[in-house]
């Protein structure tokens, strides 16, 4: 662990000001001077005494030369003053009344680029945030994630309401709480906020947040060191356990078993468990049935993609620090062109802010649109053939059978499903669907869609198959 210090500002304002006064002219003058001096003195002397020098400023005939330290200053003054004055007189056509030497910090020397001109110095204008360092080592929670910064919209209000109920009575209302949704929609924010708020409201409760990957690593290490017991004790002493990205548990048999026992211990003692995943437990492959049923025992909530209004609200909250540059018009432009993922939304906002800071002015809407072009993921366009391929793959039947006139039951079902998906998800017209699927009449297609719609009402297997297929198209 490192000691980290808040501020590391090393630039002294005065030097910076002094240095900005140099124009390319004087810098190139000093370069020619150095070339002349190089011929006059030995190579060793030149590299020791002149290599790190620079011309700091020229003021009414008084030339100020920057040197790295006092040793060099004394030596140039005693030994080379005449030489330096001579070459400067030559270079500036007798416009020199005296030469002074000042000590300039090593890394402050103006760097010259290939053309001999001054290159722009990069100065950190602002401290960079050290977000990772604020994570509390005991409970792994990042205090940045709170409900104050959590935007509630129709897409996540159910999750939010459940979270509030859990905070009010941890372990009693919804246990376990299982939250799922696509990447970048705020799952981690929500579950960490639950942890952070429980910590404040119930200081006696020990909260622990862990990603599944770390949990599994911890388990493997414990087994490796013959410390499986300490592992069990360690986790059992917490009152609230939050496990993120639980979907990675698939295929980890021993970790599943350990989690199963841990789960039982928590559940029996009325301790709260919170899981997050990017899939519904039904679709986590390789999940043991006993875990699956336990996940479903409490509350399963999904977070969907934010609608336009929510996106605007999120952007407004995120842009609060950059109000100089970000106008409401820009916010709605970003919200319009970026859909879905909140992380991408933030990324787009950041690139606009960065662009604006660089240019130092409020970007125009055209600028923003232009910028976002590179950032925005193109909307997915799925061809009919692709839908056929995915669905056929899902039902494990051969693709070309779909286009054939066969009436085998399983193929008919897949074909009808394809038609339904093309119609409902991608808005393809009935005749076109029929034409693409081996020249069927549009009434056949209508019939298929109706049939699936009806089946969905009373056949739970069809519902779950459709759900799963929908995820595959995302």
């Amino acid at each position: 662990m490192l000691i980290t210090f808040g501020k590391f500002s090393t630039l002294t304002e005065t030097y910076y000001n002094a240095l900005t006064m140099i124009n390319t002219d004087t810098a190139s003058v000093w370069n020619t001077c150095l070339k002349e001096i190089e011929l006059e003195v030995s190579k060793a002397n030149f590299s020791t005494w002149f290599r790190h020098t620079s011309l700091v400023k020229e003021d009414a005939g008084i030339i100020t030369v920057g040197v790295p330290n006092e040793f060099v200053r004394d030596w140039l003054l005693n030994k080379y003053n005449k030489l330096i004055t001579k070459v400067l007189l030559n270079a500036l056509e007798n416009n020199v009344r005296g030469v002074e030497y000042v000590i300039v910090k090593h890394d402050m020397k103006p760097k010259t680029d290939e053309n001999g001109g001054l290159s722009m110095m990069s100065t950190p204008s602002r401290e960079l945030p050290l977000a990772d360092l604020y994570i509390n080592k005991e409970d792994n929670l990042n205090p940045r994630y709170t409900f104050d910064s959590f935007i509630v919209g129709p897409f996540n209000e159910l999750g939010y309401a459940a979270a509030q109920a859990i905070i009010a009575r941890p372990g009693q209302s919804y246990n376990p709480f299982f939250i799922y949704g696509n990447t970048g929609l705020g799952k981690t924010h929500l579950i960490q906020a639950i942890g952070n708020t429980i910590k404040i409201k119930h200081p006696a409760k020990k909260v622990h947040y862990i990603t599944l990957e770390k949990f599994a690593m911890d388990y493997i290490n414990a087994v490796h060191n013959n410390k499986a017991n300490t592992f069990k004790e360690k986790y059992r002493k917490y009152d609230v356990l939050i496990i993120d990205d639980i979907q990675f548990i698939s295929k980890m048999e021993k970790t599943q078993e350990e989690l199963f026992h841990l789960f039982n211990a928590f559940y029996e003692n009325g301790k709260q468990i919170v899981f997050s995943s990017d899939k519904h437990p039904n679709y986590i492959t390789g999940l043991e049935a006993r875990l699956h049923s336990r996940f479903s025992q409490g509350m399963i909530v999904d977070i969907s993609e934010p609608d336009f209004e929510s996106r605007v609200a999120i952007l407004r909250a995120k842009a609060a620090n950059h109000q100089n540059f970000i106008t409401p018009e820009i916010i709605s432009a970003i919200a319009e062109s970026v859909e879905g993922n909140i992380r991408e939304l933030e990324g787009s906002l950041n690139s606009v802010v960065c662009h604006a800071e660089l240019k130092g002015r409020v970007p125009s809407i055209a600028d923003v649109k232009n910028l976002l072009k590179n950032n925005v993921r193109p909307k997915k366009n799925v061809s009919v053939a692709e839908v056929v391929k995915i669905v056929a793959g899902f039902y494990s039947i051969e693709e070309n059978l779909i286009y054939d006139k066969t009436r085998r039951k399983e193929i008919v079902k897949a074909r009808q499903m394809i038609m339904y998906i093309l119609r409902e998800m991608f808005n393809v017209s009935y005749p076109l669907i029929g034409q693409k699927l081996g020249g069927k009449d549009h009434t056949t297609v209508i019939h298929s869609c109706e049939k699936i719609k009806n089946d969905l009402k009373h056949d739970p297997t069809i519902v779950s198959e459709l759900e799963q297929l929908k995820i595959m198209f995302k």
Binding site: A44, T48, N69, E70, F71, I103, K105, K137
Partner: protein, 365 residues
């Protein structure tokens, strides 16, 4: 040049000077010592353009003169001689001939015109007892960073706080602070002396006593003591605001006998892993303070140390080397260890000694 002086004094001057000669090859003259004979003394000068030293020793000067000889040659030759005798130094052509009663040597000289001057610092000055300065710097300098990437922390930071001179060093994994009480010191807002330089300075001053006069400007500092003048460049930067990481509150405090802690650490050394990790565990209810070290390839070890405990139970893993380091600066028989909670920094202090504070960061595994 033709002079006579004591071997003892010349030996010390040459050895101190030799350590400060430049070892880089760009300017070979920097590896020399410059000998200046004038009046009634001989001055021995050396510099590596970051540090400079001049030692003046009494000599019987028959002919004045200046010459430069290789520092390592001269100091190694002198170190083989018995100190209680006189030596004559004489310039013969382009060699320096040295002669005592029994032994004679000639050393090749170099043109001295290229030998740099040693800056004379003109700025704020103050005086303090040399021992106090040496003890303050010695107590912390081992904690400084050894890498030059951040010169600000590859340094010892000196400043005054009311009537204390405070020396601080950190390599960002641990931090040591030592305060010494001195009088008549100007307000020093902060001087950053490179670690390498201050260690050489301390080595040349160590073991002496008397009054040290210090002069400093923004870029340079000088120390004069008796016949020795040393000057070093300073780091022009900002030392991290370390006070913000020294916590004010503690959750657990432990007092142990220094000898027992040292013994336990010695045993733990055998079992530490390649990260030197040891674990301190405090169990207040059972009155246990134990040190545990574990290496999957070697084995495991635990020592319980009798200790006075108060506060909450705590477990912290530390780098053992950092813990052992602080013993050199704690002279008291008992050591107080303050914990701030699990996996939080740990503070070591000598009992009844408020002048030294040592903070070690926890290991995070």
């Amino acid at each position: 040049m033709n002079i006579e002086c004591s071997v003892e004094k010349l030996k010390r001057a040459a050895q101190t000077g030799e350590r400060m000669t430049g070892k880089n090859l760009t300017l070979p003259i920097l590896s020399s010592l410059l000998l200046v004979a004038s009046g009634k003394s001989l001055k021995v000068r050396a510099t590596n353009l970051s540090l400079g030293i001049e030692v003046e020793i009494p000599a019987k000067v028959t002919t004045e003169g200046v010459l430069a000889v290789r520092g390592d040659t001269l100091s190694q030759f002198l170190s083989s001689l018995d100190g209680n005798q006189m030596i004559t130094l004489k310039e013969v052509g382009d060699t320096l001939s040295l002669a005592t009663k029994e032994s004679r040597a000639t050393i090749k000289t170099f043109p001295y015109e290229d030998f740099p001057t040693i800056p004379v610092v003109d700025g704020e000055s103050f005086k303090l007892p040399l021992e106090k300065f040496v003890s303050a710097v010695k107590a912390v300098s081992y904690s400084g960073s050894t890498s030059d990437i951040k010169p600000e922390i590859a340094s010892v930071y000196l400043y005054t706080d009311s009537s204390d001179l405070v020396a601080v060093a950190t390599d960002s994994f641990r931090l040591a602070e030592k305060r010494v009480r001195i009088s008549n010191v100007p307000d020093i807002s902060g001087i950053i002396v490179p670690n390498k330089n201050i260690n050489e300075i301390i080595r040349s001053l160590d073991g002496m006593s008397g009054e040290l006069s210090v002069v400093f400007t923004k870029n340079q500092i000088s120390f004069s003591f008796d016949d020795t003048y040393i000057t070093s460049r300073l780091i022009d930067g900002v030392f991290p605001d370390y006070k913000q990481i020294i916590p004010k509150t503690k959750t657990t405090s432990v007092v142990v006998l220094r000898s027992e802690l040292q013994g336990a650490l010695k045993a733990a050394t055998v079992f530490t892993d390649k990260f030197n990790q040891i674990t301190f565990t405090v169990d207040v209810a059972r009155k246990h303070f134990s040190i545990n070290a574990k290496n999957t390839d070697i084995g495991e070890h635990t020592t319980d140390i009798p200790a006075a405990l108060s506060g909450e139970d705590v477990t912290v893993s530390l780098n053992e080397r950092y813990v052992i380091d602080c013993f050199q600066s704690i002279t008291a028989d008992s050591i107080s260890i303050d914990f701030l909670g699990n996996s939080k920094p740990v503070i070591f202090k000598g009992i009844s000694d408020q002048t030294f504070t040592y903070l070690a960061m926890p290991m995070n595994r």
